[in-house]
């Protein structure tokens, strides 16, 4: 029993200060990402969230360059990027794709420049690793206060705009006719998204932050029918994946004889991805069951299952594709 315990939790896991800080910050960030992520997936703005993570990367690497806390850069430039995307035309679906692509391209270009300057100036040689793939075990202690403030801002924006946000997600036309300031609500959501992406860039790195944003939300949307439950499950998946990732990364130091800890971001994203894959099982089983006894279910039910089956890939591959890619990057870097 004891050996099993020490096998799961390698020595010192619960007394290790960086582990405490990582679990705390990671947990908070996972909750914010999950809540904002549910709206991101429902609004079909996963691509926008991804673009903001690239803007975040430019902000983080720029902040390092001028000696600021990277989190301020992640969030600060993220908010600017979100504003620019809204200005170029996030509201129209076609305009949205275009705006997102343009902002994304510019941001990656800036990151390339800043990261080059960061690493060649000598002071911060680990900048690329830190910005792009995260460093949750080495977050400076003062950062926790910024994390707290930004989390409150992000969650408060979502809470303040809750009903109008939901209504305009259902139909912009209905919301506008009801007198909802659709533009303002969209900006409020964009603010929450930018801040949340900045926070997850701190936890798992800018490149992987979309995984933490989209993955738990997408899994929760597959498993639940009510928004309250969706949010709860998304938070659970996000926090669970983050903590399990931290544990695995800590343990990985003791795997083999190399004594080389593997990157925590890889484990977090891997757990999110696997959870997302598993979340498809109940729905798949239900639709198989639904198809088996003909006549037991009404015709209506059959068509709706069919539609769900058809609709699932539309939201899903975007998230899974991203996670997969993110996982690959981490893997190849490790080996």
């Amino acid at each position: 029993m004891h050996t099993l315990y020490t096998w799961v939790f390698e020595p010192g896991f619960f007394s290790n200060a960086p582990v405490h800080a990582a679990a705390l910050i990671g947990g908070v960030v996972a909750v914010v990402s999950a809540v904002v992520g549910v709206f991101t997936v429902m609004r079909g703005q996963s691509f926008g969230g991804h673009a903001l993570s690239d803007v975040s990367a430019a902000g983080g690497s720029g902040a390092l360059l001028i000696g600021l806390n990277p989190l301020l850069g992640f969030v600060g430039l993220g908010i600017v990027g979100g504003g620019v995307m809204d200005m170029i035309g996030v509201r129209r679906v076609r305009g949205r794709d275009l705006a997102t692509g343009i902002v994304l391209g510019a941001a990656i270009g800036l990151s390339a420049l800043f990261l080059y300057l960061d690493t060649t100036s000598g002071a911060t040689t680990g900048a690329t690793q830190q910005i792009l793939f995260g460093s949750i075990f080495t977050i400076p202690s003062g950062t926790i206060w910024f994390v707290a403030i930004f989390s409150v801002i992000s969650l408060a924006s979502i809470a303040a705009g809750w009903r109008p946000l939901l209504l305009s997600t259902v139909s912009t036309d209905i919301a506008a006719a009801r007198g909802v300031p659709v533009r303002l609500v969209g900006l409020l959501y964009m603010l929450a998204l930018a801040v949340s992406v900045g926070l997850s860039s701190l936890a798992v790195g800018a490149v992987l932050s979309t995984a933490l944003l989209i993955g738990p939300a997408a899994a929760a949307l597959r498993l639940t029918t009510r928004l309250g439950w969706t949010l709860a499950v998304a938070c659970l998946v996000g926090v669970g994946a983050t903590w399990l990732g931290i544990l695995l990364a800590y343990d990985s130091y003791y795997w083999g004889s190399g004594h080389r800890g593997l990157p925590v971001s890889f484990f977090i994203v891997a757990v999110v991805f696997i959870t997302y894959l598993l979340s498809g099982l109940p729905a798949a089983r239900a639709s198989r069951r639904g198809a088996a006894p003909p006549g037991l279910r009404s015709e209506k039910r059959g068509t709706s299952d069919e539609r769900r089956g058809k609709a699932a890939p539309s939201g899903a591959p975007e998230a899974s594709g991203k996670t997969e890619r993110a996982g690959d990057t981490a893997c190849s870097r490790v080996s």
Partner: protein, 279 residues
């Protein structure tokens, strides 16, 4: 066909007077005027591109008219009031969205308010009653995205009606429905208009499904409108002057067909382009 005999007694809800709209130099609406009274079912009929959606957007206050004005119960439309219920054209409800029919109807009560809502007994009761009124009890707990077109229409109508508006606007609600669901929606709307004394203004490019319930018609063609009781408006003289060329109004087995007659410089053939209202 209902006679609008009680139209004079019922209070006037909507007054559209002399509304013109030009969008990027193109005249969409030209001096459109009509009124709608409580309890009346009015069809906004016209071919595609006649300006029906633009007119509805003007009434909703989403499109500013270049000329003319719209008053609702004698007041200019302000965003704050909830006196208009609206069911837009083509609402795409995502099957992945975790929103039950019940939740969408509840958003009709307070979806425009900021902040988080607290659960209350009265709200739940109001939502249940509304779902019952549109015969949607059966699928109250189903995801809206998984419902059929007709069922979604019912839920959207319940969403629009729960704030007790005086005027209900529906933009092409029959466009994506099969004939039977369409008839069910129409008779539901006619019943609600009568029971709750709501003015219903429904746009459609096809008037025949509406003939049994329509009290009045606003016929829109080429940006201009003629309005009144159906049998007064849907006549060859009136519609010919709207279209600017001769059209015939044919009555075939209780259905009305509007077909283009010989126009100056054009052949008298009845190609689909000329049959402005068929079926």
């Amino acid at each position: 066909m209902n006679q609008a005999s009680d139209g004079a007694v019922a209070p006037e809800i909507l007054d559209v007077s002399g509304v013109s709209v030009s969008l990027s130099g193109r005249q969409i609406l030209d001096q459109v005027s009509f009124t709608v009274s409580a309890g009346q079912f009015t069809g906004l009929i016209g071919p595609n591109g006649a300006g029906k959606t633009t007119l509805l957007r003007v009434i909703l206050g989403l499109q500013r008219p270049t000329e003319g004005k719209v008053t609702i119960q004698g007041q200019p439309r302000s965003h704050r009031d909830q006196s208009i219920g609206y069911v837009p054209q083509k609402v795409l409800l995502d099957p992945d969205m975790p929103l039950r029919a019940r939740d969408l109807v509840a958003l009709g009560l307070d979806g425009h308010r900021f902040g988080i809502r607290l659960r209350s007994k009265e709200r739940g009761q109001a939502v249940r009653e509304m779902l019952h009124a549109v015969d949607a009890d059966r699928f109250a707990d189903a995801r809206v995205g998984n419902l059929s077109g007709g069922e979604q229409q019912r839920v959207l109508i319940a969403h629009a009606l729960i704030s007790r508006p005086k005027l209900l606007l529906l933009d092409e609600p029959l466009a994506n429905l099969d004939i039977r669901s369409g008839q069910e929606i129409i008779s539901l709307l006619a019943r609600i208009a009568g029971e709750q004394q709501i003015a219903v203004l429904l746009s459609a490019h096809e008037m025949n499904p509406l003939l049994p319930v329509m009290d009045r018609v606003v016929y829109l063609a080429g940006g201009r409108a003629a309005s009144g009781p159906t049998e007064e408006v849907v006549r060859a003289e009136v519609l010919s002057s709207l279209y600017g060329h001769h059209v015939d109004v044919l009555h075939v087995h209780g259905r009305v067909l509007v077909v283009a007659g010989p126009a100056p410089g054009q052949g008298a053939d009845l190609t689909p382009d000329h049959a402005v209202e068929a079926g």
